[in-house]
Symmetry: D2
Subunit: 342 residues, 4 copies
């Protein structure tokens, strides 16, 4: 506990849904949002007002250079993430970047390279599941050996419907959505994807267009020998659900199963399923930003870090390749630089 807070002065790049959410969570944590950037000036103005009168920019890079901005949140469209993160690194300002860190492996590598050059961790990536209380409790239980040695990680990731209209490509499905699951596996297993045995998909919702595989099943092998299964389902119909089961040689642990108020009605007994990730991960989004603010205040390194963003993207690209070719893909082992030691 620290008694008096030095008010953190944050700039937000991207005034859409996630940008607004992060801004609200920053205010709830006692930080100030002093600047907002968006290519749509109206949207920028609207969020800036809601934040109590922040400055506005059309170009996020200008916001980054604003000397009154101490730290930056990047919540702009995916392909622009790397650009703003690199600008922050150049200005040596801490940055919280929504996932994915970048859309190409090259860009992610460049971020890592520049951060290494800075010599300290300035980047946090928005893998909010790592801040979900139930996922964290599961990880703790795994670490305590509650179910022995983990041998199988099974993840499911279901959207009611493809959220932002038809995905542009099957690769985009993986890089935008499955990347969450790949990061989750890396985090829970403390291991890397070593081999992609098979990625198989099928079309579920015909309205998404021919060839779009909105259901994908991934079979992976992790370093250390554990197996992993991922079900990525953009068209589950019934609601949004994200969960994981870790099977060990002495039992299993599951997080993410639907819970909450139990209703008995109309011949059924059960619980609600959230409609989307905003409802499901509301607390986790608040917690990742709270952690970021606290980290900046305490001087500790932010987490998850740029290497996490990079490694998840590498795994995602390997899965995309396996889906395209119908074959297995083996990944090259890489050790993270010491800067990214836990």
């Amino acid at each position: 506990m620290k008694g008096r807070w030095a008010e953190l002065r944050v700039g937000v790049v991207g005034a859409g849904g996630m940008g607004s959410r992060h801004a609200r969570n920053l205010l709830g944590r006692g930080a100030a949002v002093v600047a907002v950037a968006d290519s749509d000036p109206e949207r920028a103005r609207s969020l800036a007002e809601a934040c109590g009168g922040a400055r506005t920019y059309e170009d996020g890079a200008e916001l980054v250079r604003d000397p009154d901005v101490e730290a930056v949140v990047v919540a702009s469209p995916d392909p622009t993430h790397a650009r703003y993160v690199l600008a922050c690194l150049q200005a040596e300002k801490p940055v919280f970047c929504e996932k994915p860190l970048a859309t190409t492996v090259q860009d992610a590598e460049e971020v890592v390279r520049r951060e290494l050059a800075c010599g300290r961790r300035l980047v946090q990536v928005g893998f909010q599941r790592r801040y979900d209380p139930e996922f964290r409790a599961l990880r703790r239980a795994v670490e305590e050996g509650l179910v022995g040695r983990p041998v199988l990680f099974r993840a499911w990731h279901r959207n009611a419907r493809a959220a932002h209209g038809p995905p542009g490509s099957n690769e985009a499905v993986i890089v935008n959505s499955a990347i969450h699951d790949l990061d989750e596996l890396r985090w829970l297993a403390g291991a890397e994807v070593e081999v992609v045995h098979a990625v198989v998909g099928r079309s579920v919702d015909p309205s998404l267009g021919e060839g779009i595989l909105d259901l994908q099943v991934m079979q992976l092998g992790l370093t250390g020998g554990a197996l992993a299964l991922v079900e990525l389902n953009l068209s589950a119909g019934y609601g949004y659900e994200v969960g994981v089961e870790v099977v060990g040689d002495q039992g299993s642990l599951s997080a993410g199963l639907p819970s909450g108020v139990v209703a008995r009605r109309e011949g059924r007994c059960g619980v609600s399923v959230p409609g989307d990730w905003l409802a499901r991960f509301e607390d986790a989004y608040a917690a990742e930003v709270a952690s970021w603010v606290d980290t900046l205040r305490s001087g500790g390194p932010p987490w998850p870090h740029a290497w996490d963003g990079y490694a998840a993207l590498v795994a995602a690209r390997a899965c995309a390749h396996a889906l395209r070719t119908g074959g297995a893909v083996r990944l090259t082992a890489e050790n993270p630089p010491p800067l990214y030691a836990a």
Copy 2:
């Protein structure tokens, strides 16, 4: 969302477990703890340091008068609550008071009377269940008519073991513990306890001393006609669990059933039960304080209010009477003054 926070300067009376918790939650919300009072100077000093160097007092009344203290948290022993709350009312300072608001009906009445004289709501009572996300979701569902007209409220309240050693009396069991359940019923039903049909108890844990009824079952009737059942169990053995089921003419809703990570181990499949109320209501404690801080900043009235504290105590005393006499007790209807309209 407000952009910039005026830092709220809070004094904490009582540096024990709950006082420390509230202090931590205040800091996490961006408020400052500028003073701490405790009859044990060492304990006061320790919390003051953890809060970044607050002033210390031995007497809470002095802390209340400290002009740098804008608002006060009362977390001292129960019998002293009313005294500090009245001091705050005299100083016209907002006060967050742990439950119970007072230990005698007369004192609670006095608090209400003085607050009415102030002409505005300055008191919030620490009925933290009203800030539990699941209880709130249940109440919303009841209000939306999801299960029709409520006809039965069933509450259970179980401690693993009597928390602070043997309760002093069976009446203390009700005033200290069951008061939470009575407030919960009032809140969920939007009704008052009208009649106590029967309160029956039995001794479960012999080590608590002869005549101590650590299990009590209460059968109540509420204004509007709904029935209510309360199980208060200080010696449930297995853990801490607090829940409620609302039965309507079209179904039922339950909150508080154990949930979280599902573990399959050693021939069993299930979830953990928290050990005590601190673990169970960790988020609710943070949320009630966050709401208090936000309310003070926005100028809105605090909630739950002094009348809630008073009315719950009246119901608790009626239950205690019924337990003692073995008969039914009918309560006199009272309408809250307009200051306490929702």
Copy 3:
């Protein structure tokens, strides 16, 4: 295991829903239904044919005297039960009688008296819950001390709607429906109802007529000191549910919570609730009849026995009295005759 079955030749009195069900279960167990009696000859004939050509009677007493009938099932209207059971006792034929054993305490006493005169147990009462696998598993766990010493039994009994139209009286609600719960408590606790602290009711479904208390809550004390709560609810709206929780000083055990196929649909995740007791207790009805057949073949005593039928009725009448008078009722202790020792 016995190798060859002597085919048991059974007569069924009452060709309605329960009579037909028992007949089918008898056939499924390898017994023969050789006679059917019903005051409605058409209904008797229809069931007789379904049973492969049994004889028919209009008067159940005649059926009982049929020398080809070795054993009798009584599933006629409640007020006639005692009459046919007494006829069986006179003929010294084993009889399976649907609950309640009788509708007056005098008649139930008379059955016990006559059976005692026979010197052996000939009567089994249709308290089918004792044959429900989950209730049995719960009882076993209680006996094994899994939750320590039981201190509270909480039973709930909910119908979607009053099943056969408006109940004739509030007393009938207890004698017809709550008698199941009272037997269940006696069985699970291995104890008798010692005191009825309070029975309180309220009208839920106005279409049942003024003054009909289709929701009743009972607060009981059992011999040995455990408390008990019963919720009897004829108008729960959502479906049929019967369950019990046994709270001990080291934990609790619950049976009867909705289970089965988990469906995720339309924003909900949950299980079905059966529509009525026929669906809920389908297996228990088959098992009680199978046990009866096996018992007759092996020469063992049937169970639950006439004393169970009598004692449950006595408790039901005490509850009805408490509901009527608004006060507590204390029961006189009675020890069952040695014939009814387990």
Copy 4:
């Protein structure tokens, strides 16, 4: 309902655990066990006595020829199944054969060929899951379209430990154990395995010997386009669990999740997991034999039939091939002969 039973006279080949269980279930259904065969005369005699004095044989083929034996249960070691089934077909006697129907595809083909020559279905295969109430309820719900069009079938099959010591080979793991899951998929999906995308395994329990893959994960494609995942786990440690989730485009349905009495004890709330398949499928084993007896009495065709036994074995062999080679395997489409139409 048929009124009088013609007592069915059954011979049991194999007096071990499953043979004894089937015998007991036959007696419970009103059939007679008139002969028992086992290569161990002592074991045969013991079961024969328990069945009330059946004849005994050392050679199952002799039992099949016994003119007093109307129908045969084959529960001998797997490699002998086909031999006794073929003997029954030659004698034109109905036969209930434990899974697998045969251990080689050639033998299973031979059974089908001979049965086709008989012109009527005489063979039932012991895929008992098809008689599990919850699996059946799930299938019904799928057929009613409760979750739309099924797109993914996910099955899990977990033993606490390899049941009969180390499996002889990884292929045996599939043919003995996973064959249940493959039949289940065929039944639930109403489809055949069309392609085995990948079967990957790992060693969990080192005591089973090097190279034994006691955990296997199978990724399949079914005719009609649905995907399927199977987790076969011989060393799950915590107990025995078999379940399936069917994901459709409007939701999902799961059967087999642990259920039953809910115990709150020692900081946990949950249910028991059965120790093995005998406990888990006790009712299903009784039901498949009851159905067999009823079918023989009514003249209806037995089910699941020889083609089911054959097709499951073909799929199992394809999975074994995929595991061995590390690649995908595509199966040749076969239409079942009209004799095996539902």
